[in-house]
Amino acid sequence: MIRKLVRSRFLFVVPSLIFLAIFVLFPIIDIFRMSFYQWDLLTPPMFVGFENFRMMLDDKWFWNSILVSLKLLVVSVPLTFFVPLGLALALYKETTSSKILRALFYWPYMMPAIAGTTMWKWILSYDLGILNYIMKTLGFKPVAWLLKPTPALVAVSLVRLWGLTGLLMMMFITGLQNISSEYYEAAMIDGANKWQIFWHVTFPLLKNTNVLVLTTSIAHLFRDFAVIYALTGGGPGYSTMVTPLYIYNSAFTQFRIGYAYAMSVVFLLISLVITVFSIRAREAR
């Protein structure tokens, strides 16, 4: 039996499975269980049935946060897909300058998100930020980056892009370097121009990388908390209040832990649907 197990190589996966079960599976199951309780972290949890889910239906700020998350998905995910792709195409060849530039683009990803975002908060400040100072010096009107809903959403997307570009660009570079040069040679012999080569050779051959980048970008967006927490705090008003931040506030400023669990369950299901849909749509191309 043991010999059979070893031969099937299943035994080698067991430690990882145990790790996953303890730190991933059980907590997820517990999220579902605790969503039926009212709990403030101090008094014992109290079973309330579907009360948390019923309250969620009436909670307009929760649904607003879902809408904000979806808006950010529409603005941010294409940005975090195409900008890193463009950079990867420019920098995937092994030259000294491309290596230096890759390191520079990767550097923001290594910075603690709170530190990097706080820096951006100063840069984008309406009255005191260097960006508006430059704009005023050049004769332009200052932009209320963090004071109006749409600019705030754009600012969040740009800061996210700044933080994520390095990682996603490196994924694309790995994908590009794995494409055999024979494909390009064949295309050139057939008389394809640069755009045709990209669209008919490079892009289809990056299929797996595209799915990986897309999934990573969506996953980052759905669990992103630090950037918005530090940059806008969900404001102005509730215009950048994404669901993870709303859940955090409910859990740790209002101590509605059971309610936060219930919202997490719903958000987890919505995120799953969107991720599966995006991957399917990408794979169908």
Binding site: S125, D127, L128, P149, A152, T232, A251, F252
Partner: protein, 423 residues
């Protein structure tokens, strides 16, 4: 062989009998840590048998970590506790009154009575047990840019040529004149907190929660008018919109010279003293229907851990560090915070800090009891974030005042329901 065994037993027993009592202390880092480090270094000379390990817990995570520690039964021996959260933790803290006589040589009553009333009611529970000692005590006050006021030729109270506090109307007039005289974009900086809004409304005679902890803002016609006045201050560029819409640090605009007045408090002292190219001075908050300020800061207490030796050592240290003339003075001189004890003069060696102590001491004495009563409730502690968010949305023009008040009413009722009553 037997001798070896005896030697081994003695070797193991020595550290147990004569070893130091190790205590863990959770603090919020920054100046709080520096103050505690200075006090611990001095305490070590008196009690070399007690070792205190300081652990920084970031402010934003402090409350959740403490709750999880209580939940897991693995609490620190000592911890600093922020004012709004203090009522919730009282039942987990040691009763320090059992140790007061032994450590300080005074009665628990004398100990409690020596504090400002607004502090006393925070540290003593309903049964009369002393659950905390004061650590840093803060009061809201104004800070003025001395040069801007000089240029405008306007005196400010009490150290700028005027003794009496401004009325609200006078205050508004002063802000407009100083702004115009110095050609600055705004006049007043104020952090986005429900506590500032509470103080603004209370000074002008409106209670956010009444003494029975009823939410009254949506039922008091004056409240709506005052809230509208508040929002108008942003529209008229008296206040800085970014501070209430994007939670911009008010120190930035004030120290950057964009505003002439900061509605801050005694806790700003250390930061403002670091600015060398400008002169700032503390001033009274305006006096209208009421004259008041809001207290805050950190309390300090010892947790019930079940280990009697550690509990005793922790209680002794807590009382030592929280009592005037002992560790408390070391802490205050390091952090430039003001004393929570009446008639307790600390020699900070800096005239501005002495002024802060005088201004804030006067405001602490003037503050009516209901202000602290209301704010010492769990309802208030949980209503603060919704007030911040709703008012921020109103200032941003994303929501009407009526809608915000309706949302706050719903939130209030939900909190009361969750708490099972008004407490």
């Amino acid at each position: 062989m037997k001798r070896w065994w005896t030697f081994l037993v003695v070797l193991l027993a020595v550290p147990l009998v004569f070893g130091a009592i190790k205590l863990t202390l959770w603090c919020g880092g920054g100046t709080e840590r520096q103050g505690l480090e200075a006090a611990i270094a001095e305490y070590k000379k008196i009690r070399p048998d007690v070792e205190i390990e300081l652990i920084d817990v970031p402010y934003a995570q402090f409350d959740q970590k403490l709750r999880l520690a209580i939940l897991s039964g693995n609490v620190p021996d000592l911890a600093t506790i922020t004012y709004p959260y203090a009522p919730g933790y009282m039942k987990y803290m040691l009763d320090l009154s059992l140790y007061v006589k032994e450590v300080l040589g005074i009665t628990p009553q004398e100990f409690a009575n020596s504090m400002y009333d607004v502090v006393k009611m925070r540290v003593v529970d309903e049964k009369g047990a002393i659950r905390y000692v004061p650590l840093h005590f803060t009061m809201q006050c104004l800070w003025v840019n001395v040069d801007y006021f000089k240029k405008a030729g306007i005196p400010y109270p009490p150290f700028g040529g005027r003794t009496e506090p401004w009325t609200w109307e006078e205050f508004m007039d002063v802000l407009k004149k100083v702004k115009a005289a110095n050609n600055i974009p705004y006049a007043l900086s104020m952090q986005r907190t429900a506590e500032r809004l509470f103080a603004y409304l209370a000074i002008r005679g409106v209670k956010t929660l009444d003494e029975q902890l009823n939410f009254t803002l949506d039922r008091d016609p004056k409240a709506k008018q005052l809230l509208q006045d508040f929002v108008n201050m942003f529209k008229e560029n008296i206040m800085v919109p970014a501070e209430w819409i994007a939670a911009q640090d008010p120190n930035m605009a004030f120290t950057g010279g964009l505003t002439a007045v900061l509605w801050g408090g005694s806790w700003n002292t250390l930061d403002l003293l670091k600015v060398t190219d400008k002169k700032f001075a503390p001033a009274y908050l305006p006096k209208d229907v009421y004259w008041l300020s809001l207290e805050g800061g950190r309390l300090f207490g010892a947790f019930k851990t079940g280990n009697k030796t550690r509990e005793k050592a922790a209680a002794e240290f807590a009382l030592w560090v929280g009592w005037k003339g002992k560790g408390y003075d070391i802490y205050l001189k390091t952090t430039y915070h003001m004393s929570a004890y009446k008639n307790h003069r600390v020699d900070y060696g800096n005239p501005i800090v002495d002024q802060v102590q005088e201004v804030c001491g006067k405001l602490a004495e003037a503050t009516p009891k209901w202000v602290a009563d209301v704010r010492n409730s769990e309802i208030w502690s949980r209503l603060q974030t919704p007030i911040n968010n709703q008012m921020s949305a109103v200032v941003a023009g994303q929501m009407s005042l009526d809608e915000a008040l309706k949302n706050l009413r719903n939130e209030y009722e939900r909190i009361v329901k969750e708490l099972g009553g008004k407490r």
